[in-house]
């Protein structure tokens, strides 16, 4: 625990204090940016996109040459002529057309048939399994959180990980690293009145002062209070120099990507970002909802990578999607699909070896109506940890998993 809280905060008088901390921090941030230019893994980061609710993989990457596809999806299939073809057998849902340029530039890897042993069809438990990388036990922290703990990153960096949204996802919960979750810059702050703000420094940063009682949790709470306060004040200043090079779509998902781009381009040394899009839980009238969300995903990715490219940072950021499960192969009576198992994942970015990895799971050899997975999700995580973030994956994943070639 100590490492999370080791640095003592000077309780300097209100405003001068912020500026002093800020300028020290800005130097550290510039130093991190410099390291990135040398080409090591130091400047690289990962964006995890949660396609929350269970995205239907079968209508995302479509096996249009298989007649069984049109049999199992009589009313919610995508017509052959609309599909954005990737090869003779597979194509993208047309609402993903914005990904095609990135795909043609070899910057999109599509991993098919990914899931975990003994699939669970509960949203909550399956989401937890994807975020903890622990299919067979309950652990409180996430796999990316464990990575941040193990990666030997600078102890005083408040932004090792950043989650977009109101609540910290389990993915980024860590034993030793405190990750901020940010919906928007306005919400990420103590919203006291002006005279309260003037005192907040002393109230929240009392680490140098002793209390009349002892508590095993006091250092932890004091440290989180400090970090939350400092991060919420520093972040707007640190990213003030960033200007988006493209216009992002007005969706919350794309606005989140815009904030991620700001943090990437400010060089804060952030290694893992999280943003979610959903809900993909399409039990009823699937096409309408899934089409809307897939368009938001592809439109966001297109803007994000164009913006990163304009800032010269598109080779330093890869994006990985996941969803808690794919959906049932056969559509249901409500023009929707029920919870399923295996699904494809997207890996996007300049460091990616584009293409299609693994076969599409059979539409006839099923497991209680669900696709059979062939690639363990932890192999995907291991690949990103080993080949992109350049750390050993076994301590993070609790065991060794083979890596893939997409990076």
């Amino acid at each position: 625990m100590a490492s999370r809280r080791q640095f003592i905060v000077q309780s300097v008088g209100a405003f001068a204090g912020y500026l002093a901390i800020d300028s020290i921090f800005a130097r550290a941030a510039r130093a991190a940016g410099t390291a990135a230019v040398t080409g090591s893994a130091a400047g690289r980061s990962l964006v995890v996109v949660n396609l929350q609710g269970g995205n239907d993989g079968l209508n995302t990457i479509i096996p249009f040459s298989d007649p069984n596809y049109y049999k199992v999806r009589p009313t919610i299939n995508v017509a052959q002529e609309e599909i954005v073809k990737l090869n003779a057998d597979l194509g993208l849902n047309p609402k993903l057309a914005d990904l095609k340029d990135l795909y043609d530039a070899q910057r999109v890897a599509i991993l098919q048939g990914v899931h975990y042993p003994n699939p669970i069809l509960s949203h909550f438990r399956s989401t937890e399994i994807w975020q903890t990388a622990a299919p067979d036990k309950y652990v409180p922290d996430g796999w990316a959180g464990r990575y941040l703990d193990e990666a030997g990153l600078p102890a005083n960096n408040l932004f090792k990980g950043v989650a977009i949204g109101p609540i910290l996802p389990q993915l980024l919960i860590a034993a030793k690293t405190d990750v901020p979750a940010i919906s928007d810059l306005r919400g990420f702050s103590f919203r006291g009145r002006r005279d309260e703000q003037r005192q907040a420094d002393n109230i929240l940063n009392g680490a140098s002062e002793s209390y009349a009682f002892q508590s095993p949790y006091l250092a932890l709470v004091q440290g989180v209070e400090h970090d939350a306060h400092a991060a919420s004040i520093q972040l707007p200043q640190l990213i003030a120099g960033y200007k988006p090079a493209v216009e992002y779509p007005k969706t919350p998902f794309s606005q989140g990507l815009n904030l991620i781009s700001a943090i990437v381009n400010a060089g804060l040394g952030t290694k893992v970002f999280y943003v979610s899009l959903g809900s993909f839980d399409t039990h009823v009238n699937q096409r309408q909802r899934q089409d809307t969300l897939l368009a938001q995903f592809a439109g966001g990715m297109k803007a994000f990578y164009a913006d990163l490219a304009a800032h010269g940072s598109d080779d330093r950021v890869i994006t990985m999607t996941f969803s808690e499960f794919g959906r049932r192969v056969s559509e249901n009576a409500n023009r929707g699909t029920d919870h399923g198992t295996a699904a494809p994942m997207f890996i996007v970015g300049g460091g990616v070896k584009g293409g299609i990895y693994g076969d599409h799971p059979s539409l006839t050899d099923l497991d209680f109506g669900n696709l059979k997975w062939h690639t363990d999700f932890r192999s995907v995580y291991a690949t990103i940890l080993e080949r992109w973030l350049a750390v050993p994956s076994a301590p993070v994943l609790g065991g060794g998993f083979s890596t893939l070639n997409f990076v």
Partner: protein, 498 residues
């Protein structure tokens, strides 16, 4: 080392345990601080008046008042349609969930029996269920009634009844567990999370236990539990070294005869009520009480709440308040008398959806409550609460704010049916004396547990304006200044500790 182990080995209090006297009755001085400590642990925090009363009563009378439940005229169920049917729309389900949550929160806030509510919360996080996997709000309300009836009852009775509870039968797939297709989910969690802990049974024990529980299912017409003999496997089973034609009740009895069961349950009580990572000697002593009393929870709680270790400096503020504890305690502090959906949404922002634990293992608690986002949510919950303005028609306001349950932080002061005034908070303190007001606020919010820099900041706040100019307290600014001072006291680290 798994992270679960990491989380439970780092927060044992400093200093050493005197195991010989730990569970003997506490005979030291009875102080208002200890009275406040008792009310934080055996309830959800005391109002300033409740703390004064417990302090005046003495330890034994204060514990008696908590343990001996008085008649309770509060609603046993939400005043809303909780039935789910084939025609229930998503919006009706959402409204039913909100009605259930508001009923629960307001019970916890207003109950004359804080320990009854605290035990219900404890059991709901031990025998975990949730509105998921077919569990309806009505089934969950019924399960909470089961916890309430057995709040300080017998752990063995409760475990037997939970095993036949409709919500549990749905939540852990007991309802799908039958002779032809055994489902091991409940059998496994009963051992791993409810009675023994991992490592104290084999996979064969899981399978044999699942076979024994077959036959219990839920009647889909009236959502009651029922035993269907033709679905029950009545063959021989070998479970934890014993062989026989066992049923579910036999399994529970065999489980609770395992020495490790009493230790497992005692550990859970100590972590919840005393401190994290209790020493093995302390666990063994508490387990002895459970065993020798035949798993009588009242006997255990009677002992714990009067014990040396409970009132020792090592236990004082040694736990982190859950969002529920923080919210309810804060409401009591400012004299607020009704949760609104928006305030409930504030609890969600702090990382806890009431009545909806993240998984069957329950809320892990402790360090898991603390991150930058949940911490800011705590500060902003308190800040909004102190500026709440009583309004006449809160129902209409509440209805319009129901979407706030979706966690996005709303802006502006929340509406509140009723709340004490800042003048009532400061009691008789001289309204022209910022020092006296600061002392009073620091006492009622923190029982003096602020440090020097926090004290001087709260005083300085009362003496200066937003740009640092000196101000005098007067009729113009007094109300807002007292509210702000309260918000600052509630923002301190000690306020986050139970």
């Amino acid at each position: 080392m798994s992270a679960v182990q990491a989380a439970t080995t780092q927060y044992r209090p400093a200093g050493s345990l005197d195991a010989a006297t730990a569970l003997l009755p506490y005979t030291g001085p009875w102080t208002p601080k200890l009275a406040a400590h008792l009310l934080r642990r055996a309830g959800f925090g005391g109002s300033p008046t409740e703390i004064d009363n417990a302090a005046a009563a003495g330890m034994n009378a204060a514990v008696d008042a908590l343990i001996n439940f008085s008649h309770d005229s509060m609603p046993q169920a939400p005043d809303a349609d909780l039935s789910y049917g084939r025609l229930t729309t998503p919006e009706q389900k959402r409204q039913a969930n909100i009605a259930m949550t508001m009923w629960f929160l307001n019970r916890v806030l207003l109950s004359p029996n804080p320990l009854l509510e605290r035990m219900t919360y404890f059991w709901s996080n031990h025998f975990t269920s949730s509105v998921d996997g077919g569990v309806t709000p009505q089934m969950l309300v019924n399960q909470y009634a089961l916890f309430r009836r057995n709040a300080l009852g017998n752990f063995s009775d409760l475990t037997h009844q939970v095993s036949q509870d409709p919500a549990m039968l749905f939540y852990l797939n007991g309802a799908q567990n039958n002779k032809r297709h055994p489902n091991e989910n409940y059998a496994r969690e009963l051992m791993e999370l409810f009675t023994l802990g991992v490592g104290n049974y084999t996979e064969d024990d899981v399978r044999e236990s699942a076979r024994s529980f077959t036959g219990w299912t839920v009647n889909r017409q009236d959502y009651t539990a029922q035993f269907v003999p033709r679905l029950h496997d009545d063959g021989q089973k070998t479970f934890l070294g014993q062989t026989g034609n066992f049923n579910g009740d036999d399994i529970v009895d065999i489980l609770l005869r395992q020495p490790v069961a009493a230790q497992f349950v005692a550990h859970k009580f100590l972590r919840h009520f005393v401190y994290d990572d209790p020493e093995p000697e302390l666990v063994a002593a508490a387990a002895d009480i459970l065993r020798s009393s035949g798993y009588n929870v009242r006997v255990l709680m009677n002992g714990l709440l009067r014990s040396n270790v409970f009132y020792s400096p090592r236990a004082y503020r040694a736990l982190i308040k859950s969002p529920l504890e923080l919210a309810v305690g804060s409401m009591k502090l400012v004299g607020a008398t009704e949760f609104t959906p928006r305030l409930a949404g504030g609890i969600v922002g702090m990382g806890q959806i009431p009545m909806r634990p993240p998984n069957v293992a329950g809320w892990p608690g402790g360090a898991q409550w603390m991150n930058q986002s949940t911490e800011l949510a705590r500060l902003n919950f308190a800040n909004q609460l102190v500026y709440a303005t009583p309004v006449a028609n809160v129902q209409a306001t509440a209805a319009s704010m129901a979407p706030a349950m979706a966690t996005s932080p709303p802006s502006g002061p929340p509406a509140m049916p009723a709340m004490s005034t800042p003048m009532e908070w400061i009691g008789g303190a001289n309204t022209a004396d910022p020092g006296a007001i600061a002392e009073r606020i620091i006492w009622i919010a923190l029982q003096d547990d602020a440090n020097e820099s926090q004290r001087s900041s709260i005083l300085s706040f009362l003496q200066t304006d937003g740009v640092g100019n000196l101000v005098t307290l007067n009729g113009e600014n007094l109300d807002e200044k007292v509210r702000g001072a309260m918000s600052l006291a509630m923002a301190t680290a000690p306020y986050q500790l139970a």
